[in-house]
Amino acid sequence: MNKVDRDRSRRRLAVDRLMYFLCFLCVLIAVVPLLSVLYYVAASSLAIINFSFLTGLPRPPDEYGGIGNAMQGTFIVVATASLIGLPIGVFAGIYLAEYGNNRIGGSIRFVADILAGVPSIVVGLFAYSFIVLAMKRFSALAGGVALAAIMIPIVARTTEESVKLVPNTLREAALALGITKWRTALYVAVSTARSGILTGIMLSIARISGETAPLLFTAFGNRYWAVGIDQPVETLPVRIFNYAIAPYDRWHAEALGAAFLLIILMLAINLLVRFAVRGRYSPTR
């Protein structure tokens, strides 16, 4: 090996190491915002979280209030969305997995992916003109419909992926025993894939619990306890938004407290499905 060759191979190795280092640096930079968000929200909210904060009603900016009604409202809106969205999403996913291996299935799959990418604020506009205008007032129901529209494509695609992971030999075994196709789909394929389906459902619930934009002019907001599904309700994300942009320090602190709860909920669901429900037929890897 002469000197030129040696220099060149040394340079190539140096480039190789440099790129390894740069890619690793990218990973470090990428996780800085996550750690910073978690640290900031946790560190600045611990002082404010106590019983009256968790159960109380909002107060004027010169005294500390609570987020009880916001938690109640988030629960109502997410439950409404789940009641509407889960049956549609799960059955659509089963259809895509078991009967969707054709052009119709392909187009539904495609539309589901597009729908999952539609900006959530646009979904809010839809729920406004579809429900709020018809009922002539902001309501928890309208918020639930908006969140359901966000939830459906997510649940449909994760359900599909989970059911598809069930090996065909299981279906064939059932069919060979003379079990009808629909019973096979439901009691063999879907039942085997249930931990994966559950994962998708949990992740979609985590996702919609933090959605703010579609609730701004559907569920709107409410300073008091929710009284009905046809009335405006307060939700955690909307409270965080309104308090964060208000000019009062106390409200900023309360926004951080509410954000802490929301982040805990989000992390708990995500870590749970990542480490606990990681079954054989689960779409998250």
């Binding site: 390894y20 996780v31 695609r157 703010t212």
Partner: protein, 305 residues
């Protein structure tokens, strides 16, 4: 086919068609409700810079400008970083650290937008104002991009926060694309004496190119429609300025800010038309991105959407 089969398949198909019906319904509602504004302003709506609710004059150009510029800025920041993450996770990292690192990166996507906004207001914007913007003004201040008063919030803050939010999207889809590159590609390059990086550059990245472009476009689709975090840090002023330090506004942000307070039908209609434009653009962008990615790999849906 038995009766039970027929019933089950029809029920499942009915629910599946709900998805198509839903997208059509969303588009229909938005067109119907923006008719008033479309009739009144026509194409001028897209190029007019005046947004004056008091005098009932509406033009969307400042918002379109803000959405486009903040998204491009986000791509400029996020694309190299997310490709680095994807390459590290798929080609370089020892397998024992892959799962923890990819989990961390994907948790970025799980944090709600409004919490990024909160962090943007109280942590990121002050850092930008005190450290980043003075440095940029000092070193690159001869460019019109980095001139003017420094508020912390503004176009630059909007772009940075969008970059944080689309990074997990681009990196996890790119990673799926890289994973779909056949091992023989890498082995062929390594067998010819390429270093690990040369194998990645020559045989992996070139094979995966269209899929990676697709991943970037899907990230763009997410950036265009992102609302809460952006509206909290971009300053919400409908002006077109050459400087990245200036306050700006986006299409999604103006809907979030003004819709609940819009007092008359034309105002609501103009905001809905902006929403409809946003729907059209994102559908178009997502379709292209999806098709490019599908040429390489069927992306399993799940954590990152």
């Amino acid at each position: 086919m038995g009766f039970g089969d027929l019933v089950f398949e029809s029920v499942a198909a009915g629910f599946a068609f709900c998805i198509i019906a839903l997208l059509i319904l969303i588009a229909y509602e938005l067109i119907a409700k923006s008719a008033l504004s479309i009739d009144k302003f026509g194409w001028i709506f897209l190029i007019s810079t005046t947004w004056d609710p008091v005098h009932e004059i509406f033009g969307a150009l400042p918002f379109i400008f803000g959405t486009v510029v903040s998204s491009i800025l986000a791509l400029i920041i996020a694309v190299p970083l997310s490709l680095g993450v994807a390459i590290f996770l798929s080609e370089m990292a020892p397998s024992s650290v892959r799962f923890p690192i990819s989990s961390l990166v994907e948790l970025l996507a799980a944090v709600p937008s409004v919490i990024y906004g909160l962090w943007g207001i109280f942590v990121m914007a002050p850092i930008l104002r005190i450290h980043v913007q003075p440095t940029l003004a000092k070193t690159l201040g001869f460019l019109p991009l980095f001139q003017g008063p420094m508020h912390g919030v503004g176009m630059l803050a909007g772009g940075v926060i969008l970059a944080v939010m689309i990074l997990p999207t681009i990196s996890s889809i790119s990673r799926e694309v890289l994973r779909a590159v056949p091992d023989v590609q890498r082995e062929a390059a390594l067998a010819l004496g390429a270093t690990r990086w040369e194998a990645v550059r020559i045989s992996v990245l070139s094979y995966a190119r269209s899929g990676i472009i697709g991943a970037v476009i899907l990230g763009l689709g997410r950036a265009l429609g992102e609302t809460m975090a952006v509206t909290m840090v971009i300053g919400n002023r409908p002006e077109i300025s050459a400087s990245l330090f200036a306050l700006a506004h986006t299409m999604a942000a103006v809907i979030a800010n003004e819709f609940a307070e819009a007092t008359y039908d034309l105002y609501l209609s103009a905001l809905t038309e902006i929403g409809f434009l946003l729907l059209l653009v994102t559908c178009f962008v997502l379709t292209i991105g999806r098709l490019l990615v599908w040429r390489i790999v069927r992306v399993p849906k799940g954590v990152t959407l």
